[in-house]
């Protein structure tokens, strides 16, 4: 047991992204004894069976008809089918289509929501409407139902996750505040939209104009900036807390319960962000079905422009939050490593694992203005991964980039020594600087040619834009350094408000 954990810890020190997955594997090995290895192998062997069987039945259009079920369903799936059927019957009395996946969804919201159309809710008046108008009503109905669904899910998160974990003292109020962010404050916004949309329904449940309502409502989505910015840190903290057995156990029980539809907490916490990017798609579909001279003709494009602007802002601020998150994760061995460009960078071009000439694994960050080489170190077993800055960070404005051809020995013979028996070195490039600090040079190796190309592309972009910026004006720097702070201030303010709101619920 312990040796495995040690190995996992060692592996996880390379990259936070890999760490998350390896922890999942560790959990898997906890549940799986040696016996479980065999069933997994069985699955691999049996996987060919279903493939072969599926070739035989011919696909028929009338898939809803129960008659063809015996033909389509492989023998192996019937067991699952009967299990699903019994589950479904307990949930709903009415007969269900004989599809395994449909039955799986019988007890979940998505099926109820997605299977119901606007035309299902209207009696017989729809034949008077054009096909285009029916389509338009369907999209508006989908928009409305989506709001209802989101409200239900966000309320569920608060009632089933946040409040119990607070009362049971599974996490501190501060930790819960970081993980859930301002989620609670988003619910009233969507309740407002739902009321407005339902108020638009006129005779025969049709909606005439929807554009002005959306235009009027979209500005309140600025609240999403705070929520989405918080998510980068929320994910990291949630992963860290999951290593606590009480937290992991509670979350697993929730996921296995029917109310969660087998979605985990991160699925639910991601719902607001996921919903935000759906609005342009829905508006676009409404626009397609809106004829010329319709009252919505002018309002819809304006609403679209408005939501796009808001999402662009959310996207920009989220990038800044990510940059800030990784910047805070840096550890400095010497104060001279704290170059101004690190603090002044507004976004992260890319980051990932590269190898040095000594075969050392480095986690490299390309911030807007500076390239930082680091070695990942785990603070302690349960702490977040931090990155020890390696050598001196290299400002992009002073960087030189050299593409090293594959197959040729590097001019510095050390690469050959590092990879014993490997005469050819692949996917390498060299970065060097002769700036104000001591000059240095590093040869780095990427995983494959595409990864290398991505690094080279990002580095060139950073170098070009950094020099352009340097040439333009240096007085801009002080202002831009200050720009992240208002967002942080907002976060703190929102957190305080959030705490106040939660007090009465305790």
């Amino acid at each position: 047991m312990e040796p495995e954990e040690t190995e996992v810890d060692l592996s996880s020190s390379w990259s936070p992204i890999t760490r998350e997955r390896l922890l999942t594997c560790a959990n898997l090995s906890d549940f799986a004894g040696e016996e479980d290895d065999f069933p997994i192998s069985d699955h691999m062997q049996d996987s060919e069976g279903p493939c072969n069987k599926r070739v035989k039945p011919v696909d028929k259009g009338a898939s809803v008809t129960g008659i063809i079920t015996p033909v389509k369903t492989p023998a192996l799936k019937r067991l699952g089918q009967s299990i699903q059927r019994s589950i479904s019957f307990r949930t709903e009395a009415r007969p269900l289509p004989p599809m395994p996946r449909s039955r799986q969804k019988a007890s979940s919201f998505p099926r109820r929501r997605s299977s119901q159309l606007w035309s299902d809710t209207v009696d017989n008046m729809s034949h008077e409407l054009s096909t285009k108008e029916i389509k338009r009503q369907e999209v508006i109905y989908e928009l409305t139902q989506g709001e209802k669904q989101l409200i239900e899910d966000l309320s569920l998160v608060k009632k089933v996750y946040y409040e119990p974990m607070l009362k049971l003292d599974i996490m501190t109020e501060s930790e819960l505040g970081q993980i859930f962010g301002t989620l609670d404050s988003l619910i009233p916004l969507h309740e407002d939209l739902l009321v407005r949309l339902e108020g638009l329904r006129g005779a025969e449940k049709t909606v005439q104009e929807v554009g002005p309502t959306m235009m009027d409502w979209f500005p309140c989505l600025e609240a999403y900036i705070t929520y989405c910015c918080n998510q980068v840190g929320a994910k990291a903290l949630l992963d860290q807390k999951k290593q606590d057995k009480r937290v992991e156990q509670f979350l697993r029980l929730c996921q296995e319960s029917s109310f969660s539809r087998k979605l985990d907490l991160w699925n639910f916490l991601d719902l607001p962000r996921s919903r935000l990017v759906k609005y342009p798609l829905l508006l676009k579909e409404i626009q397609k079905s809106t004829p010329l001279d319709h009252p919505d003709e002018d309002a819809l494009p304006q609403a679209m422009e408005l939501i796009q602007r808001i999402i662009t802002e959310v996207n920009l601020k989220t990038g800044e939050a990510e940059c800030q998150f990784y910047r805070r994760g840096l550890c400095y061995a010497e104060d001279s490593q704290r170059v101004a460009e690190i603090q002044a960078s507004r976004f992260l071009y890319c980051h990932g694992e590269l190898k040095s000439t000594k075969g050392q694994k480095l986690h490299v960050f390309l911030f807007e203005l500076v390239l930082v080489l680091t070695r990942p170190v785990a603070q302690d077993r349960e702490g977040p991964v931090q990155f020890q800055v390696y050598r001196q960070p290299m400002p992009a404005a002073h960087l030189h980039l050299e593409d090293l051809p594959d197959g040729e020995p590097s001019s510095s013979g050390s690469f050959r020594g590092a990879f014993t028996g490997n005469d050819k070195v692949k996917n390498c490039f060299r970065v060097s600087t002769t700036g104000r600090s001591k000059s240095q040079s590093h040869s780095l190796q990427a995983n494959d040619s595409f990864n290398k190309q991505q690094w080279i592309s990002c580095l060139r972009q950073a170098m070009v834009q950094s020099r352009d910026r340097q040439a333009q004006s240096s007085p801009c720097n002080p202002n831009e350094r200050l720009s992240p702070e208002p967002a942080l201030y907002n976060n703190i303010a929102e957190l305080t408000i959030n705490s106040d709101v939660d007090m009465p619920d305790t």
Binding site: E7, S15, I17, T18, R21, L22, C25, L28, F31, A32, D37, P39, S41, D42, H43, M44, D46, S47, E48, C51, R54, V55, D59, S63, K77, G80, M99, R101, Q104, S114, S115, L117, W118, K135, V139, E142, K235, D239, R261, K262, L263, N267, D270, R273, S274, L276, V277, K278, L281, E285, I311, T312, V314, N315, E322, F347, G352, F450, Q454, S457
Partner: protein
């Protein structure tokens, strides 16, 4: 207890906007193409498969392909076991973006995740003459998709959500196998020596290739 062990897999579906991702997911979830209205939104959903005593919980995530969301989209990627990169067979530029945009993004955020390349809307090839009249593009051929898949070291599968829900089901079947294969390898990696690691890596590919081959045969059968 062991017999009720669940294997959880997360699959994220990415690709250019309007290339068929949401239809793919909706058809899989409902096991049929909707007759009246195709939903615009796909809500995250977990499907269950049971094979012998192994139960797989497949968590499906839709994403937005719009460049407006390049900083926001990565919040979908954590813990992904497999990523489906989708492109629209009727729009060759979406195939080019597989390499230009998606491969790089996934490399950065999911460096150890299985990748599958999915060609959507394969039915557009059936009536080539009509298609060419309607648009200025010629649809991507199977070989073009297959060659791109080789470039990114991924299996290649095609589907038509509109005409063949079987092809959609096959994609997620193969994706599930990729997840199971990955988890299996990861477990072994923790327990076994280095020599075994190499063996596992070598052995996993022929199986995927084998499935790819069968999928190809199946596609021909359907056509």
């Amino acid at each position: 207890m062991d017999h009720h062990h669940d294997l959880k897999c997360k699959i994220v579906v990415v690709g250019d906007t309007q290339c068929g991702k949401t239809s793919l997911l909706n058809v899989f979830a409902k096991d049929s193409f909707p007759e009246n209205y195709v939903p615009t939104v796909f809500e995250n959903y977990t499907a269950s498969f049971e094979v012998d005593t192994l139960r797989v919980e497949l968590s499906l995530w839709d994403t937005s392909g719009s460049p407006y969301y390049d900083n926001v989209r990565p919040l979908s990627y954590p813990d992904a076991d497999a990523v489906l990169i989708c492109f629209d067979i009727g729009r060759p530029e979406t195939l080019e973006n597989v390499l230009r945009k998606w491969k790089g993004e996934i490399e950065e955020f999911c460096p150890n995740t299985k990748i599958l390349l999915v060609g959507c809307k394969s039915d557009l090839r059936a009536d080539l003459a009509t298609f060419v009249q309607l648009s200025n593009d010629i649809p991507s051929s199977y070989d073009q998709g297959s060659n791109m898949a080789k470039l990114i070291s991924a299996p290649y599968i095609e589907c038509s959500a509109q005409q063949s829900e079987n092809s959609v089901r096959d994609i997620f079947h193969i994706a599930t196998l990729a997840c199971v294969s990955k988890n299996n390898k990861s477990v072994k990696r923790i327990k076994s020596s280095r020599a075994t690691k190499r063996t596992s890596r070598v052995s996993s590919r022929p199986e995927l290739d084998s499935h790819l081959h069968k999928t190809k045969a199946k596609t021909c059968t359907v056509m």
